[in-house]
Symmetry: C2
Subunit: 341 residues, 2 copies
């Protein structure tokens, strides 16, 4: 049992990830003395449910962090940059789910199954990696430990919930419109803040975040940079192609990895089966493999379609699925918070 | 103008690809003297429309191929094996859209943009490759010619229409059910003939055909084997992961290729821009890239997200989209037929 009870603030309590943070704190029986949901002025005064009680959302201000032990941030990078120093100044440890501090050398970037020891080095802020990175590194960790690798090529199949509740609603409305032979309305996807919007329903959009100078998207470069940082290994070279597909919850990834040592497939399966946070669902002959519909609402990372590459005997292909709102966001953040207790 | 008019049989005239074959013969103004739609006994007697006339579907029998010059087959591998020799015996050239003869050393496997010269070697049967192979090799051909390559890693995002009209209807019905909070019915996907069926709506299924001994699916191994045969180059090593996504028409592919020579990106873009059958849609900064909704109904292969690998300076990533019923099936078959005229 945890030693003491905490005052926990949730910044972005009214969002898609905020909701999952609340459910996770409940389900994992986190030692919450006081829950303090915070949000923008617009959402302040609304209520959220926590442990069968209505709790009023307060406006996020620097003072709202007085007395907070742990603050879980999930309200966008700009908000994190504004409030994280204020919360830390007041004695809170911030677990930040945005891109604001992930590559800051003073901020640990943590997936507990991979690098929980990094948590200890925090100076007030701990960053939660990007959803697509988290599930990939959990699946890669047992292979890294036993065989080592330097080369990963990944293509993602990302759910719309990564872009929030509004994007989920848009996909549903677009699907209805197309099924009724009407023009779908496009306002959110692929990136709300950009000029052009495309229907995601019955489509696939090869853009999950803004473009970078090198022709990659920010989402793709997050996978490249965050993977190196989480494994503390700059030799790891990741190539990523990030694609949005018409799925509500659950990211899937086609992962190719070149291991540094010879392997037999039973060793690989054994390593994955024993790995923390991984559930192996791997029997193509019996049509057993992970799928986003089955991963929805679950905390683990599901791995299947594990097979030796047809070309390189040290190459391995696998299919990695996880609920992007849970292990990809809320579950990972609450796991970090558990190590802080 | 073609020199003579042909009697053209279409076997599988009532199917999803059969319909596209008819539209393609019309649109490309193919020199049809007589169109002879053939199908199973069950569909015989129904009519199809061709050039504003109703044409009665006849039952496929050996005798139905008497007097036929070109027979376009698209009714499943078993039917092709049964009737192709009968059609050839009666003087027809068969363009077969199934898996029945693709790897037969006596049968050319043809994508005109890549290996049209192979058509001449036919002994009565010419095979149309699998849809996911066709669009990939069209995009790779200009790179093969200028730079050479031996290594390709591809992950597919395949539309449901590859499994026929029944599968398309299932995806629509499943989508409606899920939007209304009901259980989706599952009878067709991922593979009609197998035991287990899963919803494809709002899901991703990492199985596009039956399993093979080596843990790959047949669809994946088709991409491996057919690519070697089409390029007549056994050094080409393809690794494939084939995934069904909730898209009605248009396969997408995340393709990684390692070129044999150094390149600059302008050379790559120039080669793709000039390539036969390719349309380059490549400007991520302006949110320009191919998507299946935009490729539907078009004959070309669309290429975008072209960028140098972040790890290997001779590596290249690209995103390749094409209508699987058109260039992936009907258009390619009719193009082959045009070379026969």
């Amino acid at each position: 049992m945890p030693s003491r009870e905490m005052t926990v603030a949730i910044l972005g309590a009214s969002g898609a990830v905020g909701e999952q943070l609340l459910r996770n704190l409940e389900a994992r029986n986190f030692p919450v003395k006081e829950l303090r949901p915070l949000a923008s002025k617009r959402s302040a005064g609304k209520t959220i449910r926590f442990r069968n009680e209505e709790v009023v959302i307060r406006e996020a201000t620097p003072e709202a962090f007085e007395g907070v032990d742990i603050a879980l941030f999930s309200a966008g990078g700009g908000i994190s940059k504004m409030f994280a120093p204020e919360a830390v100044k007041r004695g809170a440890v911030v677990v930040d789910n945005t891109n604001a501090f992930r590559m800051d050398p003073d901020v640990p970037l943590v997936v507990p199954e991979v690098n929980k020891e990094a948590i200890k080095k925090h100076k007030g802020i701990i960053a939660n990696p990007n959803c697509s990175t988290i599930q990939m590194v959990v699946a890669l960790k047992p292979l890294y430990d036993r065989f080592g690798f330097e080369r990963v090529i990944v293509s993602t199949y990302q759910a719309v919930s990564g872009s929030g509740a509004k994007a989920m609603k848009e996909l549903e409305e677009q699907s209805r419109a197309i099924l009724e032979g009407q023009e779908p309305r496009t306002e959110v996807m692929p990136v709300g803040a950009l000029d052009k919007h495309y229907p995601l329903a019955f489509n696939a959009i090869p853009q999950c975040d803004v473009a970078q100078e090198n022709g990659y998207t920010l989402e793709e470069m997050k996978m490249v940079r965050e993977t190196k940082k989480i494994f503390s290994d700059d030799r790891i070279g990741v190539s990523a192609t990030c694609v949005r597909v018409p799925v509500l919850r659950g990211h899937s990834e086609s992962v190719y990895v070149e291991l540094n040592k010879d392997f037999d497939m039973e060793e690989i399966r054994h390593a994955l089966r024993e790995a923390e946070g991984v559930i192996l669902e791997d029997d193509i002959a019996a049509q057993v493999y992970p799928m986003p519909l089955n991963a929805t609402g679950k905390d683990e990372v599901f791995v299947g379609r594990v097979r030796r590459d047809t070309v390189n005997p040290r190459g391995l292909n696998m299919w990695v699925v996880s609920d992007n709102l849970l292990k990809g966001a809320a579950t990972n953040a609450v796991q970090i918070a558990e190590y802080l207790v």
